[in-house]
Amino acid sequence: MAKVPVQFTLNGSEKAEFIESGTTLLNALRDKIGDTSPKGGCHQGTCGACSVIIDGELKLSCLTLAETCGGADIKTTAGLAEGGVLHPLQRAFLDAFATQCGFCTPGMIMAAKVLLDRTPNPSREEVVEALSGNICRCTGYEPIIQAVLTAARASSQNAA
């Protein structure tokens, strides 16, 4: 199959690749570019483990064709830490024991980031709603909800 060129920004740096037409963004990120932070849980759009942020919107990278991402601004969990300092969400997930096997964590953090970018002080219900497309099989979810609420408080304190 013919390869197609695709160019986008990943966590602030320009990427240009030739990919097989029909390659998902998930596979392009993991196998071509080497960003393995998005996880392939189901490859059919139901677990949320592959979630990334494309132009500010939460997207499932397993259902997004890489070739449709030309010129896009893509963010993944791998790009969240700045200068070796963890993002407040990452810090809060660690502190709250919101990660056990860790497979759902990058997707959860992406979903939470989009929520906090829009709603800096969400209610518990808003957190539940925002993460409800993401499946976790380990934690029982409660520590994840608590981590997101903690991160929201930490960010708003820093901003104040």
Binding site: F97, Q100, V128, S132, C138, G140
Partner: protein, 334 residues
């Protein structure tokens, strides 16, 4: 037709480990030339946190900070024997083996320090910060770093220890069949409140209150997380999870993790979890196995709550809307 409320309670005992042909785990501990300690096990950390707990146990026994201990659980070919990670036995069995190995290593460490300080080993103590000092005269001290260097390069000693913990096989008495399946039991009790829609058969779990008696929480945060996740999984066993809903017929089984149901974010019950600590006689620092038992009491508690709500006993898991409706129909038919 109405939404009916019910409350159920259940209590459990849960054995720590099993009694097969005897239930052993072994451990080895040795120091590196710079006075860090290596614990070698073939017990597996499946994500339950065994490495952290074994590091704590080793550090506490030798008298060094936890970050001076490295735990290698990597290789069942080269590590000392372990029966395995199952039956909530890891902390209890491997922990006891690590204590024994660490005690032996500590003794050698104190002997080398005694030679360096020209005192009796029995007069020495650790300060928990990486030093060994004379009891009552802490100015006379030596770092464990220097003790390890001395052992390796000057005195030709191996600061190491062997540990073994064995629950011997218990044979049943011929007449009565009585035996001792386990030496140590954790306990739990759950009260669950549910709403049952007697038109649709749907169950909503409103609150879950758990008390867990786990001996001693060696790492309280990790224990808490195990119990919170476990309580959620107990609800999942009670109401959602099955691979074969019409067993032995294989139809309608989930084909992947999306169809294999568990409670989602929208299904979370308000959950309360209390830990009671009654140190066990033969556990490492009093610990029992909190691993699996924490997902058990919710199941009978929910079944009892459903009975309290709509008066039907569901004795097959999971308690699905279909099973409740069939039971209600049978009840109405008298």
């Amino acid at each position: 037709m109405a939404i009916r409320r019910g409350r159920g309670v259940a209590a459990i005992n849960y054995p720590t480990g099993m009694n097969l042909g005897g239930d052993p785990t072994q451990a080895l501990v040795h120091s590196t030339p710079t006075g860090n300690f290596m614990v070698t096990l073939s017990s597996v950390d499946l994500g339950q946190g065994m490495k952290q707990i074994m590091a704590q146990i080793c550090a506490e026994t030798i008298g060094v900070p936890t970050d001076r201990v490295v735990v290698d659980t990597a290789d069942t070919d080269t590590g000392p024997h372990c029966m395995g990670t199952f039956a909530s036995r890891g902390t209890h069995r491997a922990g006891n083996a690590v204590i024994q190995a660490a005690k032996e290593a500590r003794q050698v460490m104190l002997e080398v320090a005694a030679e360096e300080l020209e005192v009796n080993a029995s007069d020495l103590e650790t300060d928990g910060q990486g030093n060994i000092q004379v009891k009552g005269a802490p100015q006379k001290s030596i770092s464990i770093f220097d003790v390890a260097l001395s052992a390796h390069f000057k005195r030709g000693r191996s600061i190491s220890g062997r540990g073994m913990f064995l629950i011997p096989r218990s044979y049943p008495e011929k007449e009565t069949g009585a035996m001792k399946p386990s030496t140590c039991y954790a306990h739990a009790c759950t009260v669950a409140e549910v709403e049952v829609d007697d038109e649709t058969g749907e169950v909503t779990v409103l609150t879950v209150k758990n008390v867990f008696e786990i001996g001693r929480a060696l790492n309280p945060k990790m224990v808490e997380q195990q119990l919170v996740g476990g309580s959620w999984m107990g609800i999942s066993h009670a109401l959602y999870e099955t691979t074969e809903p019409y067993y032995p017929n294989r139809d309608h089984g989930g084909t992947d993790f999306n169809q294999y149901l568990m409670p989602g974010l929208g299904d979370l019950a308000e959950t309360e979890t209390i830990v009671l600590e009654r140190p066990s006689a033969d556990g490492p620092f009093g610990a029992k196995g909190p691993g699996e038992m924490c997902a058990n009491p919710q199941i009978p508690a929910v079944a009892n709550a459903v009975f309290d709500a709509v008066g039907v006993r569901i004795d097959t898991l999971p308690i699905t809307p279909e099973r409740i409706l069939r039971a209600l129909k049978a009840q109405a038919a008298g």
